[in-house]
Subunit: 164 residues, 3 copies
C-alpha cells in the first residue's frame, strides 16, 4: 500500500519516503505549522460568536429577524486582528511548506534540517502569540523576520542543489 | 523522463510515484479541489463585470474617463461574498493539499485514503454552493466542519507515522 | 541523508528525487515563484513605512502616544495595491506549486515541463509589474490569464495520468 511497493515486495518497506529521517522531520513540522494555521479559523469563530460580529446575513438569523439581526453584521477589532494573523500565516507558512518539501528532498544534513524546521515552527508560534495578545513591537516583527529568513535559507539550498 | 528512471531503466516504470494507487488517488482529488479553488477567480471576475464593481482604477478605464469611470470603483455584496468563499478555500484547501500529500506518503490503506479524499472534496464543493446560493445556516458551517475534520484526521495519521 | 539512502548505500545517490531533471526544473521554478510571492511582504512593509499607513495600534507606538500615533492607523492606496497583488499571488502561485508538483511526478517530457514552468514564472513576474506600476489593462489581465491557463494545462495532464 505504500508508494514504492508496486512489484517490489519487502524492499519497499525500506524505501518509503516516510522512512527517511529528514523527510519524517519535515512531515512532523509541516503538519504542526499547518495545524497551527488551521486553528486560526477556530479562534476567528470564537471571537465572531463572543463579540457577535458577523459578515454573512445568514449567520445572524438565529439572533432574530430584520434590524435585530442586522446589528450583528459589523466588524470587530478582535475578529479583524485574528483574521490578519491568519492571512499572515497563509503568506508565510504556505511558502515554508512548499520550499520545505523541496529542501527536505535536496539532501540536507538531518541536524541542519531540524534546526531550520524547529526555528521556523517556534517563530510562527511566537508570532501568533505576539499578534493576538498583542505584544509590543518589535516582538511580532522579529518573530516574523526569523521565520521569513529560515524559509529564504531553505530556498537558497534548494536553488543551489537544483541548479548545480 | 519519470522521476526515478535515471540509470535504472525498465524497473523505473514500476516505481513512478504516480503508479502508486494511494498517491494517484491523492493526485486526482488534490487537482480537483485546487481547480475548484481556482474557479473562484472566474466567478469573482464574472460578478465584478456584471455588477460593475471594481477596485483598481485601471480596470474601469474602458467605461470612460473621470467621474464616469470612478463610480464603478465600489464594493458589491455579491463580489465580496465570492471573495470570502475564495479566501475560505485558501484557508482550508491549501492545508488539505499539504497534509494530504504527507498523508498519502504515510502508507494509509487505499480505502481509508479514498474515504478521506472523497469526503473532503464533496464537503468543499458543498461549501461553495452553500456560500454562493447562499443556503441557510448551518449548511455552510457543517460543510466547513466536515472538511476541517477530515484534514485533522489526516494530520493525526501523519504525526503518528512520522513520530513513531 | 538523502531520502532514499536508508539501507541502500551507493545506489541511493542515483535515485534522489532532486536528481531527476523534470523534478529539478520544478524545484527551481517553484522556489523562484514562492520567493517572488514572499517579496510582496517586504514591498508591503516598505509602503507601510514610507506612507506611514499601519493597521495595528502597536505598530505606531514609535510615532508617539495617543492621537499623534492614531493618525497613522489608516489605509493607503499604494499599500492596498501591493496587498491585492500579494493575495492574487496566493490565489495563483499556490495552486501552481501544488499542481506543478503532481505534474512533475506524472512523467512529462522535460521540454514540455520547462515550457510550462517558464511561461508561468514569466507571466507572474509580469503580473506583479503590471499590478504595481500599474500598467493599463489588459496588461495585468493577460499576464494573469496566461499563468492561469498554464496551471490548468498541467492539471489536465495530472488528471489524465492519474485516472488512466
Amino acid at each position: 500500500m505504500d508508494w514504492l511497493s508496486v512489484r517490489r515486495g519487502e524492499m519497499a518497506k525500506s524505501t518509503q519516503l516516510i522512512d527517511n529521517e529528514v523527510f519524517r522531520a519535515y512531515a512532523t513540522y509541516a503538519a504542526i505549522v499547518l495545524i497551527k494555521m488551521m486553528l486560526m479559523s477556530l479562534i476567528t469563530a470564537y471571537f465572531r460568536i463572543t463579540r457577535k460580529a458577523f459578515v454573512n446575513p445568514e449567520d445572524t438569523e438565529s439572533f432574530g429577524k430584520g434590524e435585530n439581526a442586522k446589528k450583528y453584521l459589523r466588524t470587530d477589532p478582535d475578529v479583524e486582528r485574528v483574521r490578519r494573523g491568519h492571512l499572515n500565516d497563509l503568506e508565510n507558512i504556505v511558502p515554508f511548506v512548499g520550499i520545505g518539501l523541496l529542501y527536505a528532498l535536496s539532501g540536507p544534513e538531518l541536524s541542519t534540517a531540524l534546526l531550520h524546521f524547529r526555528i521556523f515552527t517556534g517563530a510562527r508560534i511566537l508570532h501568533t502569540f505576539a499578534y493576538l495578545i498583542p505584544l509590543p513591537q518589535p516582538g511580532r516583527g522579529l518573530s516574523w523576520a526569523v521565520g521569513y529568513s529560515v524559509t529564504f535559507s531553505m530556498a537558497y539550498k534548494v536553488l543551489k542543489t537544483a541548479w548545480l
